[in-house]
Amino acid sequence: MTTMTVTEGVTDVFNAAAVERLGAAEPEWLRERRTHAWEVYERTPMPTTRSEEWRYTDLRRKLDLGALRCCTTPPARDEFTGWPLPLRKAMAQDREASGHLVIIDGRVVHADVADELAAKGVVLMSLHEAVEKHEALVKEYLATEAVPAEEGKFAALNAALWNDGIFLDVPRGVHLDQPVRVTRWYSESGVAYFSRTLIVAETASQVSFVDEVLSDDFTAQTLTSSAVEVFALDGAKVQYVAVQRLGRGGFYQSVQRTLAQRDATLDTLNVALGGTTTRVDLNARLLGPGSNSDMLGLYFGDEDQHFDFNTSQDHVAPNAGSDLLYKGALDGHSRAAFRGIIRVHKGAQRTDAYQKIRNILLSPHARADSLPNLEIEADDVKCSHGATVGQLDAEAKFYLMSRGMNRIQAERLVVLGFLGEVLSKLPLGGVSEKVTRVIQEKLKHHV
């Protein structure tokens, strides 16, 4: 691999010809969007640690784009019994759902929605299918206002090369009482997967969306790139949850943007447990007065895991609120970086915006970097942020040990309690239990 391919990110596999092939059978507007995205990608330099947003993740060391190929595994069939066991197990642990969608090796192989919801017009399907069947909506929202190619190097790459994705549309006034559950499985090592998620919650609708990503350990670095666009129109209520449980070797990269219109509530939870490198860019935009976003995050790292969260809370409209809480525990040689910014734009009076990051370091070799920023251009606001890095609560540990637990048992329990605070803030059927179980599993290695 030459230096050029690394700096520009144009490789034997990811190039203009690949973009053309992907768009060949697509409508012209979509083909143009891909071509445009590719142009943006080519002229955007690969981010380096000299840029503030990538200060803590050195892509030259963390990602070898030139070594990645396209997936060659043939598409799986829509047949539960034929799916990989870990995927089936994860689905079996889920409770009630309004609908399911399954992605195997980057392709949507299954989608279902409860009959009465389908009758009300709820749409859950692969993005390819939606381009045909709901072209107007997709054309309006896909890679336009939320995550356009101009957003950054990865957003451009994704907009040019996405090969499948999810489309969810909840019509005006429709409430989904149970979550929509997406489960993804990646099997092929050494490849790059590009997917997009587009969620449109129309006026006064209500929906929860849980996206769980799974894989075994990879034998070579594998990139899962995703762009997530969530629109909550006036008065809509949306919960978006992403649970990352990739195996080692996985580079999980996700650009997410949420747009909340008047009186909308748009909450997010990002759980990162697996993978070798995790990079999440989350931007919450409060566009309508009275809108609110709670942004939750939870991560638990061990060995050489690297997590990098880059969040922003953009208060464009007055009278809106946002509240961010990210908590992480770091063991082994793992490392977490958090960079977050609250921007109160001119005229966004009576903003309430908060940001809290708490890390505990469980090992002498773990590392945590926090950079919580504020940029305030309105005067009638309440904003605060806080960041702490420390150890396990010694008193809690002592209490448990005085009740007969040994040190390790006590430490594991205190970690669970510490991280559990985040889960308790977004009680969604099954998510909390599932995540807790995975953390417990990881904690078995904590000594």
Binding site: P364, R367, P372, I376, D380, G386, A387, V389, Q391
Partner: protein, 471 residues
Amino acid sequence: MPQNETIHDLGLDEYKFNFVTEGKPVFEASKGLSEEVVRQISAHKGEPEWMLDFRLKALKVYESKPMPTWGGDLSDLEAVLDEIHFYVRPQDRMGHTWDEVPQEIKDTFEKLGIPEAERKILAGVGAQYESEMVYHSLKKEWEEKGVIFDSIEDGLRKHPDLFREHFSTIIPIHDNKFAAMNSAVWSGGSFVYIPKNVKLDTPLQAYFRVNQERMGQFERTLIIVDEGANAHYIEGCTAPVYSTESFHSGVIEIVVKKNARFRYTTIQNWSNNMYNLVTQRAMVHEGATMEWIDGNLGSKLTMKYPSCYLVGEGAHGEILSIAYAGDGQHQDTGGKVVHVAPRTTSSIVSKSISRGHGRASYRGLLKVHEGASQARSNVECDALLINDTSRTDTYPYIEIEENDANVGHEASVSKIGEEQLFYLTSRGIPEDEAMAMIVRGFIEPIAKELPLEYAVELNRLIELEMEGSVG
């Protein structure tokens, strides 16, 4: 009881040091920065060869480093630098009594109240006018105890070994573009040595005055506080208001040795046409304490982050920062603490007020290296916004490599409290006056730390009567 004053009467937007002293300098370098200017400065000072080499090397480093793209807006700076004089020599020799100082320069400092303060409450005074120290004096009792308080040039001349041992070791040439610039053209500043176990009970003060238009001031200060010693140093800065920009870039290096204690107070009150880009750093050894009290009220743009490197076990660093950004001002200030040794502790408290179109930014770094076990640190930032055109930012970097450390950061931003305002106005206090009271209350925790009673250039702050006026 509070007096009837409005927020305007607080005087924060009024500049009282806007007077110009007539008089011709004995030498003025041509505009802009060049090797010739650097050689002229060195020749005027009659420096040893190594210092000239050092300056020339620094000039190369300065030229090779790009202009910073973070912090304040420096896009016009290069044009400004082409127009300023990097070296202006106001007189030929430095005075040790005020009688030796030329009348017009002496008048300037009389107006600023420095000689009076010296008589009353200071252990020693240094005064810089344009590029040179024009006055330096230390009370006899301290001189007898071995305290050195001299101009930096005299420090190099009279104490070459002590000077060379420490000079540029704390802030190397390569540290940043403006440290490199200062290293090339430095002129004036203080050289301070506090011997072992000597405890100064009154402060030393240095006063920096820029008088002339289109002038660059580059003071360089080196302070060595020996084991067990204790001292306090205050610097104040003012300049007349011109329509063209002026430039000030200082480098302040401090060594605080084992179990010593040192406090450095800055009251920066440059006129609103001044760029103020300063590098200040202290190396803090075992059991020692370093305190920065950094008040930034003036200048067009200030970028200044006093820092403590806690390199000895149990060292302690404290930074108290207060910034006021009025119309057209950007205060990009804060602090840096680097924990290298075990059981080191630190605290940063920052308060800022933005008014009109002013912008106050807190920028800080808190770093705990692996091995700095049981390090403790706390950072608190509060910002007050007065108008809907005001802006405030907070950029705290927190980098932790040690699991046995506890650090916290908190920041809050608020408008003047409506509830507080309502309470006060319902008691019959006019709104403007009530606002002034709330501002005073906001600043109070830091005002308490300021040496109000003796630093005369704090007159404006004293007039604020920030303490105890509510209730």
